[in-house]
Symmetry: C2
Subunit: 255 residues, 2 copies
DNA sequence: CGCTTTCTTGAGAGAGATCAAGGGTAGTGG
DNA sequence: CCACTACCCTTGATCTCTCTCAAGAAAGCG
């Protein structure tokens, strides 16, 4: 029964998804335990991993692929909080507070996940202080993501500002090379007018979805993208987006 | 030096701020340790406890009084996330992720707090599993508050909806009698058209601040308050607000 | 009783939502 | 290879909600 999944589970020890941002950055002894737990699963594109409001019975570790994390209202409106990727732990905050999932998670592309039942995970936490540390950090990051969304929606005065913020956030999240836990710095002093490094990243979202992230309408996303392109702030090639001068984008629109 | 504060610190064992929502709901042995740690402090009204962006060196436990938790943008715009009260732990999420405070906390009335240095707190956590549990719950609640703010701002289509949501949230937060971790249920099924219990609560915020919570302007808050009063949804007496029929408020405006 | 802070109400303007229509592109199947 | 469908993007026109500006009333406070 467990055996059937060992092929994937065995990867835990050799897996390269590590680093300070990854939940799976653990000592070998904890990884050995981790690979024994839970069930690995493959999912196709646009599959729902967990749904808001349902009992939080499992935590999911992302082995590969990207997913979107969202909340929705009864009338179908959607808010996308962030894009999750390899090394992320999904549903942790809800699992810990012992309640229901507070978000919905859906794959954006084929994904490999590892599902761990609540009680197993709690035991795993009690056994290893490193797991506790990574759990704290993971929950703190979920918190930061929610906070950034709230910031963007409340503090941006215009649609352009909301979109610019969302793009900068997406770019920074996609880039593991920046400082680990310092996403779109609400830069108080960093307003150097020097042209900054272009930021290149893949954006696996439709205009509709980008709108749901920035809290603006689909049409407005289109119009602003053209505007940003005209102003040489943005380049696009299929899914790939380049922010030509992130600093200028920031100073021009992120007020 | 420590002695000078023992008067207050000694209260920990007798303190009545307990219950499932309180961080200080701990066994006697942990409380004994708690009372030895940190420094108690009295603060007047409108005092800043901790400020967004500053190094997260301490956690603050609220012994008495209410405080507002907010984030702000460089141009002075403000978003109020929630009102904290006795039993809340402030700055926990930031302290754990080892970074800077992600919010600003300011007293709304005279408050008594207990400030605990980061390292002491981390040791305290490692020593007691109950402390770890309460920390998890506390961080999860900070997370839920951020999420609720994001929801309110993104998913509400009108200013009335935003305000109604904010009021319902404030009412539920102020009421410890409801289920512990189930604030403004985004009620999918609960749309019973029966008149609900009136909700009474104290609202220590100006219209300006309520606007900062709902993401609408001061004047719009005033106009909507009059409207809600006209429609017999709301009653006011100084700081005290009564939501006459919370369900009707919810079904009419929280779409 | 002046002074500050907060609340109230009105009038006007503008940003963005919404509605509408058309074009591009990818996948499917004959 | 080409029609056909489905989905997404693009652009224009209109309209409405809420912000902003303005001016005054109420209320709290030294």
């Amino acid at each position: 029964m467990q055996m059937a999944n060992n092929l994937l589970a065995a990867d835990c020890l050799k897996c390269s998804v590590r680093g300070p941002r990854s939940f799976c950055g653990l000592p070998a002894i904890a990884l050995q335990e981790l690979q024994r737990m839970g069930v690995s699963q493959h999912l196709g594109s646009r599959a729902v991993v967990l749904r808001e409001g349902f009992s939080a019975g499992k935590v999911f570790l992302v082995c590969s692929g990207r997913l979107k994390i969202s909340v929705s209202s009864s009338d179908g409106r959607l808010l996308i909080l962030r894009i999750a990727g390899p090394g992320d732990a999904l549903g942790l905050a809800s699992l810990l507070s012992g309640s229901r999932y507070s978000t919905t998670v859906e794959t954006l592309e084929p994904c490999t996940l590892k599902a761990i039942p609540r009680d197993d995970f709690l035991r795993f936490m009690e056994a290893f202080s490193d797991v506790r540390r990574n759990t704290s950090i993971s929950v703190a990051r979920e918190y930061e993501a929610a906070l950034l969304s709230a910031r963007r929606l409340a503090l941006s005065t215009s649609a352009a500002a909301k979109l610019a913020n969302a793009l900068l956030e997406l770019a920074h999240m996609a880039h593991p090379n920046g400082t680990a836990l310092a996403p779109p710095t609400p830069s108080p002093l960093a307003s150097t007018s020097l042209p900054s490094q272009p930021l290149d990243f893949s954006l696996p979202l439709t205009h509709e979805e980008i709108g749901c992230m920035a809290g603006i309408s689909r049409e407005t996303v289109t119009r602003l993208f053209s505007k940003f392109r005209r102003e040489r702030l943005l380049r696009q090639k299929g899914e790939n987006v380049t922010l030509i001068d992130p600093n200028r984008l920031d100073t021009l629109y992120c007020v």
